[in-house]
Subunit: 797 residues, 2 copies
């Protein structure tokens, strides 16, 4: 029975009996196909009696959610056709892919893209067989699925993806099925609040359909076993207007669903119409649907005396013993024939014209909507000249600046030039991260209550394009949905807490890696992640805020889609950011702290340096024209400064020592070119890092990551890496550096220990360096800050 927030939906419309019959027939065709792709490798239309050899040997796939997904899809089709609505569909329970693949095939898109899966018996046979079959397609809504921007392999991100798709797409309706299993995850639970960020003037609409299937793999779901009023209260509390469609009689349910969808669309259009007429965007209580249907609806009621339909047993393959148990085979045949395929498909095996006619046509098909192949509608960003934000650097390593501040100005002007297709994301930290220049052109999106005090420092606006919510999951989900539908963005977040989205990074990287191999998927913009507030500047946050290990997660994914940059100063950061914003199909991770740091390169030098990705800094080296005694490397802002300071200390004590100084911006340059497209050739690497001289590599992150990248290098045996090794607490910057041995003194000692001719001569110098370390510590303990001459050190040559 359809309950609504206010009054019951009429159940004598909008469908005629004929319309109900047609929709039901279409849905039966979907369900037949969904079951068919799980089971059949032959006899696809059951034109002969079903025999064991027609059935795949290994039965894989998820039946449970499929009929419900097909039910939604079919009814959304009616909405698209009758109301002229543009829509796309996201299946949160992506495991129910059969329920999506079926209507995608029926509306012809599948055959257009994959001609061998033609709309006839042979094409259908191939379509069935490839499903969950080696060399075929997965049992989720993988990138191979036309119309999919959401695989649903890992659960939790359907709503945030849907909102990302709806932002700045005013005419689009994004329908999103949310599984009641998925609804238990944290990321999904908070993503319901996304509706507080949907501007009815400029954005499209999101219509969530919470699918109360009732069960997960083996368990009831939490939301399916609480009273309806409690569930309604939950969604009203989240800010939605929930409508309930509940039942198991298809003919009744068709009417309910049609009426409820009509009502939801009318409400959406009323909200949008009012906002667009007035130009006033306010927070709306958007409609949503709670669809309660039996799990495995229309499938076997029971198998071997155990309840299946409407129970968790329907989750995957309801009848699993086809090849061993003749009764299972018989039951399967009866089940499949129950959909009456003979009435649904013509002689050739194609859906009959009366049913074909009720699906949308062309680009209005959800499976062919260009928004769901976002590269098709992607327009390049209009970019300002990043050189105009340059930091003046008359001489390297003399002055300081906040590295992210000019980036804020660049982002501001990117925003100003792309107010329809660019957004900036951050968990409440854009000001803290020194990117606040952006608020000059676009505020933080805020649609809820305003207070007088917001006028002084609130930076809030209903048409803001800076998205701030304290949920990295939601932000990343929005960002992914936004680029998957052809737009651009930038996400700045705290280094330690980017681990919160490790798994989302993994899944998006996998999506991109597969998508790059699919010719019909057009390139989409990269995910640009600025990792800031880094490990080396956590004076009062301490240990919990010290974790540079996201990079270790990043490097595990496909080299075709992974990029890591550690620009050491303003100009390198600007050059890197410009490159990343123009790129596509990558995940760009930029590590750069927000505090004040030493500046090294003027803009021309920075561009050259970043283009090479790494290089010798001649001004800091004294090995000109000769093989050096030691190679000193800095990678990251603070490590570069300390490595330089170590170089200066060594030069002071050992004027004859030939030191080559290298800075690394593009981390993957460290890996062989056979392993990563940015990898440096063996020849170039050997020429830069020598074949046998000690290399002291001062790294921003965990030191072993450099070994992981460079273990095949000729000179790996002499590569000595310093980095963060979990030694932190409430420390001044220098104290933290000393604890982890990335400080100038430790590095100088490392060099003395590794250059044979210094080992005797250097003994007293080492002692002096250790004293200097101790003085630094003592100063920190006494005054709570670092010695100014150490903190404000500049390059003395």
């Amino acid at each position: 029975m359809a309950a609504t927030a206010a009054e019951p939906t009429p159940i004598d419309g909008p469908l005629t009996q004929e319309a109900i019959a047609r929709i039901d027939a279409y849905w039966r065709a979907c369900n037949y196909l969904a079951a068919g792709m799980i089971y059949l490798q032959d006899n696809p239309l059951l034109r002969e009696p079903l025999r064991s050899e027609h059935v795949k040997r290994r039965l894989l796939g998820h039946w449970g959610a499929s009929p419900g997904l097909a039910f939604m899809y079919t009814h959304l089709n009616r909405l698209i056709v009758e109301q002229g609505q543009e829509a796309i569909f996201l299946a949160g329970p992506g495991h129910g892919a059969p329920g999506v693949l079926a209507p995608v095939y029926l509306e012809g898109t599948y055959s257009e893209i994959y001609p061998d899966k033609s709309e006839d018996a042979e094409g259908l046979r191939r379509f069935f067989k490839q499903f969950s079959f080696p060399g075929g397609i997965g049992s989720h809504c993988t990138p191979e699925t036309p119309g999919s921007i959401h695989e649903g392999g890992e659960l939790g991100y359907s709503i945030s993806h849907a909102f990302g798709a709806a932002f700045d797409n005013p005419d689009l309706l994004v329908a999103v099925a949310v599984g009641d299993g998925e609804a238990e995850t944290g990321p999904l639970a908070t993503s319901w609040h996304s509706s507080k960020f949907l501007n009815p003037v400029r954005d499209g609409a999101v219509l969530p359909i919470l699918h109360l299937n009732g069960y997960k793999i083996n368990n009831p779901t939490l939301l399916a076993r609480i009273p309806g009023e409690e569930l309604a209260s939950l969604f009203r509390g989240y800010g939605w207007t929930p409508y309930f469609v509940e039942g198991d009689d298809p003919l009744v349910m068709h009417q309910q669903m049609a009426a409820t969808l009509d009502r939801c669309l009318a409400e959406i259009r009323a909200i949008q119409g009012e906002a667009r007429r007035s130009g006033q965007a306010t927070r709306a209580h958007w409609p949503m649907i709670v669809l309660r249907t039996p799990k495995g609806w229309t499938g076997p009621e029971s198998v071997d005396g155990h309840k299946v339909e409407g129970f968790w047993r329907a989750h995957q393959v309801p009848l699993a013993g086809i090849h061993e148990n003749p009764n299972h085979l018989k039951q399967l045949e009866a089940w499949l024939r129950g959909y009456r395929p003979d009435e649904l498909f013509d002689e050739t095996g194609r859906l009959i014209p009366e049913l074909k006619a009720i699906a949308p046509q062309g680009a209005r098909r959800m499976s062919a909507n260009p928004h769901a192949n976002g590269g098709l509608v992607r327009r390049a960003l209009r970019m300002p000249d990043f050189r105009s934000y340059a930091q003046e650097v008359a001489k390297p390593a003399q002055g300081s600046a906040m590295n992210t501040k000019p980036l804020g100005a660049l982002l501001r002007d990117v925003m100003a030039k792309n107010m329809d297709k660019f957004r900036v994301f951050g968990p409440d930290e854009n000001t803290s991260n020194k990117l606040d220049a952006i608020y000059e052109v676009s505020k933080k999106l805020w649609l809820a209550d305003y207070r007088p005090e917001d006028a002084d420092g609130g930076e809030l606006a209903p048409d803001g394009r800076v998205m701030e919510m304290l949920s990295e999951h939601t932000l990343e989900g929005w960002f992914e949905g936004y680029v998957l539908t052809g737009r651009h963005g930038f996400f700045a977040t705290y280094e330690a807490f980017v681990h919160i989205i490790d798994s989302m990074y993994n899944q998006h990287a996998k999506w991109l890696a597969i998508s790059e191999e699919i010719p019909w998927r057009a390139p989409i913009s990269s995910i640009n992640l600025l990792i800031t507030s880094t490990v080396w500047r956590q004076d009062h946050n301490g240990f919990t805020h010290q974790d540079p290990g996201f990079l270790d997660v990043v490097v595990n994914k496909n080299p075709e889609v992974t990029r890591i940059y550690l620009p050491p100063d303003v100009n390198c950061l600007l050059s890197t950011a410009d490159h990343c914003l123009r790129s596509h199909d990558d995940i760009n991770v930029i590590v750069c702290d927000k505090q004040s740091h030493l500046q090294y390169l003027d803009m021309d030098a920075a561009i050259k340096h970043c283009t090479k990705g790494l290089g010798i800094w001649d001004w800091a080296s004294n090995d000109q024209g000769a093989e050096p005694d030691v190679v000193m490397v800095g990678c990251g802002d603070i490590p570069t400064k300390e490595a330089l300071a170590a170089t200066a200390l060594l030069r002071e004590h050992f004027p004859d020592l030939k030191i080559r100084f290298i800075n690394v911006v593009d981390l993957f340059r460290m890996t062989p070119d056979s392993e990563h497209p940015h990898g440096l050739s063996a020849r170039d690497f050997d020429s830069l890092f020598t074949k046998d001289k000690p290399i002291i590599f001062n790294f921003h992150g965990y030191p072993w990551l450099i070994h992981r990248l460079a273990y095949r290098r000729t000179n790996h045996a002499h590569l000595h890496v310093r980095g963060y090794k979990e030694r932190g607490n409430i420390n001044t910057p220098m104290e933290l550096a000393i604890n982890n041995e990335i400080d100038r003194f430790s590095l100088a000692i490392d060099v003395i220990n590794r250059v044979p001719r210094l080992q005797v001569a250097g003994a007293h110098v080492k002692e002096r360096l250790r004293d200097m370390q101790l003085e630094c510590r003592q100063h920190a303990y006494k005054y709570g800050i670092d010695k100014p001459e150490v903190a404000d050190w500049t390059w003395p040559y």
Copy 2:
């Protein structure tokens, strides 16, 4: 005004005017201390006029949440004393540590534990100075904080930690402050559902206090700017009964808070009393409090003309220019003196006796409650003899078994012997993970509606001790809270999705590493994580379910608390699990797939092997008494099988080739003993792996992890690692192995390529091996399954 779900709280009780005055004085003392620790390094009681040199040079800490936290703490103290209630307190907004440290100091615990922070002026000065100061304590509720089991450095886990603490502690009230910033995170948003898992008969109670401070760092919070009715609806929808305490007049608010706390405790006791009288546990609608107070309450109203109290500017240090701006210094002094410290502390600097008297005493103090130093109340698990679950293995590598199935039996009997202190956690997958034997003694906890069908396969019970919810975040949070309060548990989850809790792992590892250095923190049980449904068996889930990279996250943390085991078969898994369940202060990660796998070692051999952590399998080696030509290593179930099969192939083709076969269970054995307590000495490593022979290492995870662990080993130059390298889709097991080159054929080819004398002789063998690979692929493509003779391979010698 206090609003309730049903009727307004009376505001003329329960406090007398005298009681209000006392509570307010106590709270003023807290607030004075909270501000003092942010600012003062001297003149702690303002006995002389405040001068710049009394103020720390670097001002760090979070004022904003502190007064509210101290307000809660003070009122909970009253509840403890007046109602004889045992309670502990978790501060979700751990950044507000000053608001917790202050009452902890005032009730004497701090000085008992840290005698130099005595209850006098000099102790107070030290207490102030150490806060957020090098060598001192952090600005969160770090492990150094007496009474804390929740640091709050990363946000999102306060509620799940609180429930973990309450489980099986029937007399305990766990009060938990939830910040409105934290409330926006995904993990927190779904953790409100935890109340559906609280059994009023056997568990304690959780009292959440949602602190509507109104602001995050720079933004309003979502929940603070929606209508009260909407917020109430949200929490009713989550299943709670919300009570509102809102305002800014302390004297009114004290009465409101006291009345509301009394009411909540009465409701809690009524729910528990009814359930315990009847013995019937049902789902309850527990009370919770929404506390709306100004951010930075009682702090500076405005600074330099900008609003501070009640705005985001109060988040950290409200007056930041003390050393530069004499007005700020003056304003600070006025603010601090506003708390009237002279009235609160006696001559010596100790809190006056009238106020001392209103705090709880001894172990009733929340800061001294033994549950919050869980090792104190921890009782060892009563363990069955794991050897009695042994898999019979007459000869190695002949038969197969499901590795996790006997583990289920072991866990069942651990459960049966420890029904008051052991729980098993899993996201809806314990049956899928073959651990379902456990349901014989304890079902899945389920307190909501039951349906008739649940009787056949539901495995649900209100007194179940298996915790299943589709939220890895919530499960891990419960588990952490449970062990932090002295109990034991086991968590089984899918390999790819354990990345969801990467960040929780990081934070718990950091907590443990610091705790181990704190003498008064007693050892707590380890977190035991079984990573199953692994990368090599994802036939239909495909690419999204393939990610063995959690191990790369694990190895970055402190070696004192990190352990990784890859038992290859049933008996090794049992031996490993027994060891892990008995251990303390570690995070044990056990990687073992749930499917049927070849069995290698009988129980005696398994125990010996697991005790060593790695070792030569003589029965699979033919280098007896001699230096081998090659060392073949298997680490993980499938990689071990493939490495063995490669060994057999090589022996067939090259009978003279001397192969040493090593299996690695304890991954950290690969690292030097200077780096990890489980590291193998250089001598032992060289003796096992040789100094110069090729090593072919077949690894379960990403191959470079082995290089990261072993790059310092003598023979690293000849270490050749195979593992997962992101080449997956819908593949049969053998096809997936081939794609990633961990299959027997690729390994045999690797050996041929690396043993000089095989390079010519082996050319035709390599060709044959490549043909065999191709046949495997073709078989998979044709039949959808692997060739039986390959899949069911057994060791032929």
